[in-house]
């Protein structure tokens, strides 16, 4: 039993993927869910107009219709290039993306009316820009699906991607503050009126690199040397890569002044490492190192100041947001407090779409969009959004479980986990659970980098889920026999797992 039971089509072929009779693609389910999501988006737009303008204009359906066309386009690309992909991912993401566009348009309408301007057109303002960004992001996602017909191909460019990822992470740290700093966090590249967050793209590149690296090194890294308290600890000399990434993330913490980003990079590395080696000792070492480092940075910020001071200030803001000194201070807790007040004002049911005052929250179109929406859709609406996010992440992890090759498992698992972690970091930040950091809310926040990067991430998950749910298609390697007939992870083409040398 070495070969899969079903004959495989060549993954590197450029032709259409052959559909296997008897296997369900569930593409029609996807279409139905998508239609439902778009009806919700249209209803949201209508409610906004009713409470903001006082009447439902004859064009209320236009943004939802435009979005429907875009998502329908992606749906057809998926139908032909990844027929077995998970049918829930696109509708779930489309609903969040659509509500994001709807909320941004709601801000445009509110701003225009309070300036005594006529209701802006669908393509005007941040809502219109977000529509265009959605178009661009979906085109990118479609291109990725069209070009990358087999996710294992990505591993060929692993080192290039790894280098690109590190460069993307480090650029804002190196640039002067005037070109990289927004609201105290150095996470940006700003050129004129245009700004991108390179870190958003870096996470995909880094996950791909880690996955490739770990598939090759997993045997070495899982080698145990000492057993302590029932946990196997790795050999000292194998700690090198972990220490490197740890240092990198602490550098990010100090020079980009952003705990969230540091946590994100370090978290994604530790998790892929843990998944690859199945050694919980890596998790323990990682967590201790990270939180130890964070605590030391906090103490340094308190005593030494300098590059650590910002971090200490943020921790103070988090601990005592309603303290008057923190509230009044420039760069203090004003934003956090206004976000909390916005959420609290919304209460259980919210004021209804369009009926709140989201503009009291600074940056409500970016980092704080969740707080702004929370005032209008309440705890029930936000809980529904949380469930949608959870659904996307768990669907991604399910693809990771189901896919047959190690690289695919690590990429899908790493990307899903990173997405979940990012949602936790930003939503935890604005609800006061953890110190606030400048992350975007995936698919919701205004801005092109975040939308493009996260749609690329979804495209990657779609591609891997296609491999997971479709007929087994192995690349260059042969599937090893697993115990009890279970399919073992496939090896990567050409790249053999390093074996332990005696």
């Amino acid at each position: 039993m070495t070969a899969p039971a079903v004959p495989a089509s060549s993954p590197s072929s450029t032709g259409e993927m052959a559909r296997i009779p008897g296997m369900k693609t569930q593409r029609n389910a996807e279409l139905g869910l998508l239609a439902f999501a778009m009806i919700l988006v249209a209803a949201y737009g209508a409610t906004v107009e009713a409470s903001r303008i006082g009447e439902i204009t004859p064009t209320f359906w236009v943004p939802a219709a435009l979005l429907s066309i875009l998502f329908l386009g992606l749906h057809f690309v998926v139908r032909f290039t990844a027929p077995y992909a998970d049918p829930v991912l696109i509708p779930a993401v489309a609903l969040i993306n659509g509500l994001g566009v709807g909320f941004l348009r709601r801000l445009d309408i509110g701003d225009a009316l309070s300036d005594k301007q006529p209701v802006p057109s669908v393509f005007a303002g941040i809502g219109g820009r977000q529509l265009v960004w959605t178009l661009v992001a979906l085109v990118l996602a479609a291109v990725l699906l069209l070009v990358v017909r087999d996710h294992k191909v990505v591993s060929r460019y692993a080192y290039t991607l790894g280098l690109a990822g590190i460069v993307l992470v480090m650029i804002p740290a190196v640039l002067p503050a005037s070109m990289s700093e927004i609201n105290g966090a150095k996470l940006w590249i700003r050129l004129g009126g245009f700004s991108i967050q390179p870190g958003e793209f870096a996470k995909i590149a880094l996950v791909s690199f880690f996955a490739y690296y770990l598939v090759r090194k997993r045997e070495v890294l899982s080698l145990a040397s000492k057993r302590f308290l029932g946990i196997d600890f790795p050999r000292g000399r194998d700690l090198g890569p972990v220490v490197t990434v740890w240092l990198l993330s602490l550098l990010v913490l100090v020079f980009e002044r952003d705990l969230g980003t540091a946590l994100l990079y370090f978290g994604l590395f530790i998790v892929t490492l843990y998944v690859a080696t199945e050694r919980s000792s890596w998790l323990i070492i990682g967590l201790v190192m990270f939180f130890g480092g964070v605590y030391v940075a906090y103490l340094l910020g308190e005593t030494v100041g300098g590059p650590f001071a910002n971090f200490y200030d943020r921790a103070q803001v988090w601990l005592n947001p309603f303290d008057n000194a923190n509230y009044e201070r420039l760069g203090g807790s004003y934003q956090l407090v206004q976000g909390l007040l916005s959420l609290g004002t919304g209460g259980l049911f919210g004021s209804g779409p369009g009926a709140g005052s989201p503009r009291f929250v600074p940056e409500v179109q970016n980092d704080f969009i969740f707080a702004g929406m929370g005032e209008e859709i309440g705890l029930f609406g936000l809980s529904a959004l949380l469930v949608l996010y959870l659904l996307i992440v768990e669907r991604g992890l399910r693809s990771a479980l189901a896919v047959r090759d190690s690289f695919g498992k690590l990429v899908a698992g790493g990307l899903s986990f990173t997405l979940g972690l990012q949602i936790f970091v930003i939503l935890g930040g604005i609800t006061g659970l953890i110190p606030l950091t400048g992350q975007t809310t995936p698919f919701l926040s205004s801005g092109g980098s975040s939308l493009m990067a996260n749609w690329l991430l979804i495209a990657m998950l779609l591609r891997i889920s296609n491999a997971a749910r479709g007929p087994a298609a192995s690349g260059g390697g042969t599937d090893r026999a697993g115990g009890g007939g279970k399919k073992a992870p496939a090896q990567l083409h050409g790249a053999m797992t390093e074996v332990i040398k005696p």
């Binding site: 309070s114 005594k116 998790v271 843990y274 998944v275 690859a276 199945e278 309603f322 509230y327 407090v337 206004q338 909390l340 007040l341 959420l343 609290g344 004002t345 919304g346 209460g347 259980l348 005052s357 009291f360 929370g374 309440g378 705890l379 936000l382 809980s383 949380l386 996010y389 959870l390 992440v393 768990e394 992890l397 990771a400 479980l401 190690s406 498992k409 690590l410 698992g413 899903s416 986990f417 979940g420 972690l421 949602i423 936790f424 939503l427 935890g428 609800t431 006061g432 659970l433 992870p489």
Partner: protein, 498 residues
């Protein structure tokens, strides 16, 4: 690799569970607290959604609204600016409100339980009817006279206060404080400008934001002799009782002299003449003879040592009134300090009094010994002008009986007709009072006081007043206060004026 992946899924589940739990904390448990938090701008905007009630007196709108086209829909306007500012206070966008605007805020904003029916009606009609209106007791003529005369006083005093009450009810007829401020810049919707205007006023060394009529205490000088007289009359003295006087009185290191040598040089003087001429040596000896406890008891009976009084409506809050205080008059070991007692009997040493307390003393005498609780709010009306509350005068305390009050009235009328308060006389009315010239600091000009009352030709006590001018130059500091007091009472009684 599947077991760790499953565990990663559980970790994500736990993290989202934490988010959900925290969201419940913020949006359910803390929701009410956040909804009404001071930092929540929605609270402010909601208050400007409907017009705030109008504050008026005698048919004149003193705090009104102007519709705007910005996010805050109504701008508060104070047409008479500094004249009524110490009473009305102001209601700014971001800062704390003061005065009646603060004390009656619930009613003016429409949030009061008393206006619950109107709010329910709004829910069905969809209207945003305004808040309730406040009608003040102030007599606009008396108020304008008080402000004009205080600002244009003949001695060039820069600081002072005047307050007039109706002795029969306690209704405040006039209340001014100098220097005052224009509240309009403070309520500007441009919060930065408002905040700058506030800090400029707050830093002004003349303290224009201080309500000197109610919130500032000063040594009352000879005005305090009315209290000592009351203590004497309650303890067997009559207006004709001879008391010891003289040019000079030495007691435990304190030296008491009269303001001028021709005042009570003889060794004996009757009580009425002693008050009429404001005989220092006589009253210092009288105070020491009566003893500390009787003086303190009389002062307390008139309202000294009361730190609870507010002047607003008679049911609840209002302008806070500073505590008038006699001091301990004691040696470090607690025994009576006779020197201090002699000086305190002249309203010096540690004796401090608000102008409101001065007016209350005069009003009590004029009202036959009953002290009515002072109030500023005559009526509260709903937006459709239904009366919700009308002030029902309350007796605050009865420090003296009718006989003592009548004797004191005779003595104080004598002060105005024959003595130091002649400038307070009003033609056609019976006026009584007491002057006070209070030393306050080494080398500084004394404060001039006058407390008094006026009876009309029907024998009704129509007004009681207290005027205080700080650091009056040119001698006879109290004479200018007496002149202004006469004009205010005349205006309050509905006579004279321009």
């Amino acid at each position: 690799m599947n077991a760790p992946l499953r565990r990663a899924g559980v970790v994500i589940l736990v993290l989202f569970g934490l988010l959900f739990a925290n969201l419940n904390w913020v949006q359910a448990y803390k929701a009410d607290e956040y909804r009404t938090n001071d930092y929540n701008r929605r609270v402010v905007v909601a208050q400007y959604e409907r017009p705030r009630g109008v504050i008026e007196a005698g048919g004149t709108g003193l705090a009104t609204n102007k519709a705007t086209d910005d996010a805050l829909k109504y701008l508060r306007v104070y047409p008479r600016k500094e004249v009524y500012a110490p009473v009305l206070g102001y209601r700014p966008v971001g800062l704390a409100a003061t005065g009646i605007e603060n004390a009656e805020n619930d009613f003016l904003s429409g949030e009061s339980d008393k206006l619950f029916a109107d709010r329910v009606k709004d829910m069905f009609t969809g209207n945003n009817t305004g808040g309730g209106n406040v009608l003040l007791t102030l007599n606009t003529k008396a108020q304008e006279t008080a402000w004009k005369e205080l600002v244009n006083n003949e001695r060039g005093a820069k600081k002072g206060a005047a307050i007039a009450l109706d002795p029969r009810t306690g209704a405040v007829q006039a209340l001014v404080s100098m220097p005052s401020f224009d509240p309009n810049p403070l309520v500007s919707h441009d919060e930065k400008a408002a905040s700058a205007a506030y800090s400029k006023l707050n830093k002004d060394e003349n303290q224009p934001l201080l309500n000197r009529a109610t919130a500032s205490t000063k040594p009352p000088g000879s005005v305090f002799k009315v209290i000592v007289s009351a203590a004497a009359l309650q303890n067997g003295y009559t207006t004709d009782t001879e008391i010891e006087a003289g040019r000079e009185y030495r007691e435990s290191g304190a030296v008491i002299r009269n303001s001028e040598d021709e005042v009570c040089p003889g060794s004996q003087i009757d009580l009425k003449a002693a008050l009429t001429t404001s005989c220092n040596t006589g009253y210092a000896r009288l105070g020491v003879t009566l003893g500390r406890d009787k003086i303190l008891a009389a002062a307390k009976a008139f309202g000294f040592e009361d730190d609870q009084l507010t002047v607003g409506d008679l049911e609840g809050g209002g302008l806070p009134v500073a505590m008038s205080d006699t001091g301990k008059i004691a040696n470090p070991d607690g025994s009576v300090d006779k020197g201090a007692l002699a000086q305190s009997s002249l309203g010096q040493r540690d004796v401090r009094m608000t102008p409101l307390q001065g007016a209350l003393i005069a009003a009590t005498v004029a009202n036959g010994g009953k002290q009515q609780r002072p109030y500023l709010v005559q009526k509260l009306t709903s937006p459709d002008l239904r009366t919700i509350y009308t002030a029902a005068p309350k007796t605050l305390r009865t420090p003296i009986n009718g006989q003592v009050a009548s004797d004191l009235k005779d003595m104080m009328v004598s002060v105005v007709e024959n003595g130091t308060g002649k400038r307070a006389r009003i033609s056609g009315m019976e006026v009584g009072g007491k002057t006070g010239t209070a030393q306050n600091a080494e080398g500084a000009d004394p404060h001039g006081w006058f407390v008094g009352f006026a009876f009309n030709d029907k024998g009704e006590a129509v007004s009681a007043v207290c005027v205080m001018l700080e650091n009056v130059s040119g001698g006879h500091a109290s004479a200018e206060a007496a002149r202004i007091a006469g004009l205010i009472m005349e205006a309050a009684a509905g006579q004279g004026g321009d």
